[in-house]
Amino acid sequence: MIPGAFDYHRPSSVADAVALLARLGADARVLAGGHSLIPMMKLRLATPQHLVDLAGVSELRGVRADGANIVIGAMTTQHEVIGSDLLSAKIPILRETALQIADPQVRYCGTIGGNVANGDPGNDMPAVMMCLGATYEVRGPSGTRQIAARSYYQGTFVTALKADEIVTAIRIPAPAVGHGHAYEKLKRKIGDYATAAAAVVLTMSGGKVASCSIGLTNVADQPLWAEEAGKIVVGSSLDAATIKKAVAAAEAITDPASDTRGPAAYRTKVAGVMVARALARARQNAKA
């Protein structure tokens, strides 16, 4: 399959990339790892006239601590997320999730910025970022702004990002030391998107849940933050009755499509099962 013709641009700074997008207008698309965009171009579902490749923008790479936050450059690959000692120590759910994305070759190229930015509800990182309360740093012609992950997604490939803006970094408040975490994903095979998946981050205190946040992947036209389900388990010891209530609350906000991964009712149930499993495993690996 041969993509449509385009002009290729390779800026070396964010400022140059943003200026290019402003000049080229709506016919231009940003190229990160390319593993969503290039397949779409090969199918001619996307036919940009200009590609602005961010591979040469070194300021978009790398992971660093900034006070109580961890900042991940948008062009950091999933492979680099997996190999980052800082992320493994501070936010281990990211490594766990990245290992469940696609396959090794795709993870060498695919970037965390591309994964969160493009608004594909099948992507795994968006629900994790909503779960973690992450913020996306965005640069456009009028400067920099911050968009909370929880208010970024609006529908399939529809987001709060404007056409002339670039997600430059992800800022994540590091969860408390000793927190529990899990990303449970049901997929038909390696490389597949989730039938349904759930991210859980919680803290325990004296045998009770002190805080809990839950995100859901691929069970609506956008990733979901299951705020109510998270609230339900706070104060409990994660007894069966409480988990059942939280699962029901999570299932209630899903609105999956019926597709090759199963009918909608099944995928809603799978989301509930993923929430229950993720809660149990997060409880298990929490220290306190």
Binding site: Y8, A55, P104, Y108, C109
Partner: protein, 166 residues
């Protein structure tokens, strides 16, 4: 749409061409350079038959533009055997352990396994299976591919290959 001059090092030799930006790396390798070892299987990033090594990463060359590889170091299956024809340990392993039947997936499998062994010279069977999970084989059921990679890992480490009890 302007063409662009690109250059890269492929199997240790310089390669240059004037290309359309939309030219995929797999087409550059096969059609411009005549390196037909990397195969076009699914053409949709699933099967891994087009896998080549690029700057220390295994990549699916059907999902990358040649222009993205401008300046890169690329290795394909054609760059694996020694100049005198001596097979690489992985090639030898695939032959000795019957790691192929039709052979279509083999160049991608070997290139992926090569990078895997650079990163993890002594992989467990489970690590091998996870490491080659982006490469599909429709003939072998993978059993002998895993064996072939274990054979190569042993040979490269200079230790005798021991077949696992089955």
């Amino acid at each position: 749409m302007a063409k662009a001059q690109i250059s890269m090092t492929v199997n240790g030799r310089p390669a240059e061409a004037l290309v359309e930006p939309r030219l995929l790396l797999i087409h550059f390798l096969r059609d411009e350079l005549g390196l037909t070892g990397p195969h076009i299987g699914c053409d949709t990033t699933h099967c891994g038959a087009c896998t080549v090594d690029l700057d220390g990463k295994s990549v699916k060359s059907c999902t990358m533009f040649a222009i993205q590889a401008n300046g890169a170091q690329v290795r394909t299956i054609e760059g694996m055997a020694a100049a005198d024809g001596t097979l690489h340990a992985l090639q030898e392993g695939f032959r000795e352990m019957h790691g192929l039947q039709c052979g279509f997936c083999t160049p991608g499998m070997i290139m992926r396994a090569w990078r895997l062994l650079q990163e993890n010279p002594k992989p467990s069977e489970e690590e091998i299976r996870f490491g080659i999970s982006g490469n599909l084989c429709r003939c072998t059921g993978y059993q002998n591919i895993v064996k072939a990679i274990r054979y190569a890992a042993a040979k490269l480490a200079g230790v005798p290959f021991e077949e696992a009890a089955e």
